[in-house]
């Protein structure tokens, strides 16, 4: 009967109830987005870092991978040292650089990675072949669109270009072997990949044995942190970054994002709470005589409170379910905008949907619905029955 009464009360002012549900849905959508944002970016980054199974990354001392143009010299020595550690199973050296490709009367400039295709963890092949040969290159769709090149084409590629003199340095003729997608590439970024040795050679004498990054896969039964400590001890001119330390750094950099998300999420929750409290209070005040009569007929205070709390929770839940759909749509839209943020991997999701986020938002809204119903209902159920009935009759 409590559910019947609660349902009937909500239907009594259908438009008002619907508007309240829509209001809660908007607040719930914002709350969900903020919960998704506060954890999503970190989780998305973690998934990205672990996507190819590399748990350790080495960067020039004091830097993060590709945070600067700095490189590590003696890459082959570092690789050899790393291979002496039995807990390290794979070492993938990567060199980052810039290439220039003359096409007609213009020059297309693109990022380039030098990798060992057999162990690389930077891209996935979409079509064609990996650039296994010393004169091979693969590129992403943005590069292909900018140059108009297709698989099988031969490209004149240079690592140095003087725009005033229109002269090139470190030129090579490379064959486009495949179409790839870079895991860490920013949106709309032009990028290519070739063998590490090829890019080193194109970089000239200064780059013959350079690497910007080493990606290391540690045996599954080995301690990643122990391996990290070993690397820093044995190769003092590098910074070893495990997924955990990278995430700690990400956490530090995302602190403002998370604070913003927490503040906006709290505001959304509070707005939803106030909305439901207002509606329930108005509804209870309108029915104060009916509630006194129910009490006179022998309906317990607990059951009156329960009935009104059910109303609050029903509005909150209906709003939350609507808000879930609305939140996912807005998150997708906002993610599209934020993913094109310069310098950030486009694969990073700012709003990563996790069931936990939805449950958290739903749980918070349910609690707020209960809290919204408890006070007005308890107040109404506790009013002196005889006096309330007399005052209601006079009113």
């Amino acid at each position: 009967m409590r559910f019947t009464l609660a349902w009937a009360s909500l239907r009594r002012h259908g438009t008002r109830t619907l508007l309240a549900i829509l209001g809660v849905a908007v607040a719930a959508a914002m709350l969900l987005d903020m919960v998704m944002m506060s954890t999503g970016m970190r989780e998305s980054f973690r998934e990205l870092l672990l996507s190819r199974g590399y748990q350790l990354r080495l960067a020039p001392k004091g830097t993060l991978p590709f945070d600067t143009d700095a490189t590590m010299e003696s890459a082959s020595r570092i690789t050899a040292t790393l291979r002496t550690n039995p807990s390290i199973v794979t070492v993938s050296a990567v060199l980052g650089g810039t290439i220039h490709v003359p096409t007609g009367n213009r020059v297309v400039t693109s990022a380039a990675l030098g990798v060992d295709p057999a162990v690389q963890g930077d891209y996935e092949l979409l079509s064609g072949r990996d650039p296994v040969g010393s004169n091979s290159i693969a590129a992403n769709d943005e590069f292909l669109a900018a140059t108009g090149a297709t698989t099988g084409d031969t490209l004149d590629v240079a690592t140095g270009y003087d725009p005033q003199l229109r002269t090139y340095a470190g030129s090579m003729r490379l064959v486009l072997t495949g179409r790839v997608r870079f895991l860490y590439g920013a949106a709309n970024q032009l990028a290519t990949v070739m063998r590490l040795e090829t890019l080193q050679k194109m970089g000239g004498a200064d780059r013959t044995d350079d690497a910007s990054l080493f990606m290391i896969r540690v045996r599954t039964d080995a301690e990643v942190e122990a391996a990290r400590a070993w690397v820093e001890l044995n190769i003092p001119d590098v910074s070893a970054i495990s997924t955990a330390t990278a995430l700690a750094e990400v956490d530090k950099r995302l602190r403002y994002f998370r604070q913003l998300a927490v503040i906006l999420g709290t505001v959304s929750l509070f707005v939803g709470f106030l909305l439901v409290t207002t509606l329930v209070t108005v509804s209870v005040n309108e029915r104060i005589g009916e509630i006194a009569v129910m009490r006179a007929l022998g309906v317990s205070k607990k059951h009156v409170v329960q009935q009104i709390v059910i109303e609050g929770v029903a509005i909150s839940l209906a709003g939350a379910i609507g808000g879930l759909a609305l939140g996912l749509v807005t998150a997708k839209y906002l993610n599209g905008i934020l993913s094109s943020f310069p310098g950030l991997p486009s694969a990073i999701d700012f709003f990563l949907f996790q069931p936990k986020s939805a449950w958290t938002a739903l749980g918070l809204l349910t609690i707020s619905g209960i809290a919204a119903g408890v006070y007005p209902s308890f107040r109404a159920a506790s009013l002196p029955i005889a006096t309330t009935l007399r005052e209601d009759a006079i009113a």
Partner: protein, 243 residues
């Protein structure tokens, strides 16, 4: 007070040595209300008894304490002094939870303004106290139909209060009051919002209810309703006075 005079007063107030034990018994019942810095004495020490199966009308001018007395008998208010016993149980000092459970099982209320739940049908309104008492859905639906039939509204069970006339609403309210087979039926000005013809129908219904064994106590200004009762309790200025 002489013994003869005392006997006469108690006899008039409902006490009778040979009568069955009273269903309602009030002793020196008083109720004060704060009114600003002062206190209003709504009841000033009322003593009476009502036996099972009686039909009592409490009459008197406005503000004489009739409704206050009904509220005390209905356990929705507490006396400032004195005691009120229903079926031998002192109900004046009951805590809220105890009083609520007592009302559910022992008291039926009929109000001047009907006070039906507007969102529920006639049958659901009648079922409400039974649902609270934990009666199974099927059983309470059957009893609700039976009660609606008793008050002549079997064809209106699905109607909401707004679809019923005033008299029909009051009959639903009476059916609701009888739902849990209460010891007493209390009615506060039950014909106050009805026209004469409809009021007469309600008066007839109360008579029928009483004839079927229900103890009925009505507070009323309505002379016709008061006259239909077996006994009248006249009140003035918070005390019972001879009629």
């Amino acid at each position: 007070m002489t013994l003869a005079r005392e006997k006469a007063v108690f006899s008039w107030a409902g006490y009778d040595d040979e009568a069955p034990p009273p269903v309602v018994e009030a002793r020196d019942l008083a109720r004060d209300y704060p009114f600003g810095a002062e206190r209003v004495h709504a009841l000033r020490g009322v003593t009476f008894a009502i036996t099972e199966g009686e039909y009592i009308a409490i009459a008197g001018p406005s503000g004489c304490g009739k409704s206050t007395l009904l509220n005390l008998i209905g356990v929705i208010d507490h006396p400032t002094r004195g005691e009120v016993c229903i079926r031998g149980q002192n109900v004046g000092g009951m805590r809220d939870r105890e009083a609520t459970a007592f009302r559910l099982r022992n008291i039926g209320f009929v109000f001047q303004r009907f006070y039906l739940m507007p969102t529920l049908s006639a049958r659901e309104n009648v079922e409400l106290p039974m649902a609270e008492a934990g009666i199974a859905r099927v059983e309470r639906a059957a009893r609700a139909r039976e009660l609606l039939s008793y008050v002549g509204l079997e064809a209106r069970e699905r109607h909401r209060p707004a679809q019923l006339s005033g008299g029909e609403q009051q009959r639903v309210a009476i059916a609701r009051a009888l739902a849990n087979r209460p010891a007493i039926l209390l009615a506060d000005e039950p014909t106050g919002e009805l026209d004469a013809k409809t009021g007469a129908e309600i008066i007839g219904l109360f008579g029928r209810l009483n004839a079927d064994g229900t103890t009925v106590i009505v507070v009323t200004h309505d002379e016709d309703l008061a006259s239909s009762a077996h006994r009248k309790i006249h009140m003035r200025d918070g005390v019972i006075v001879p009629g």
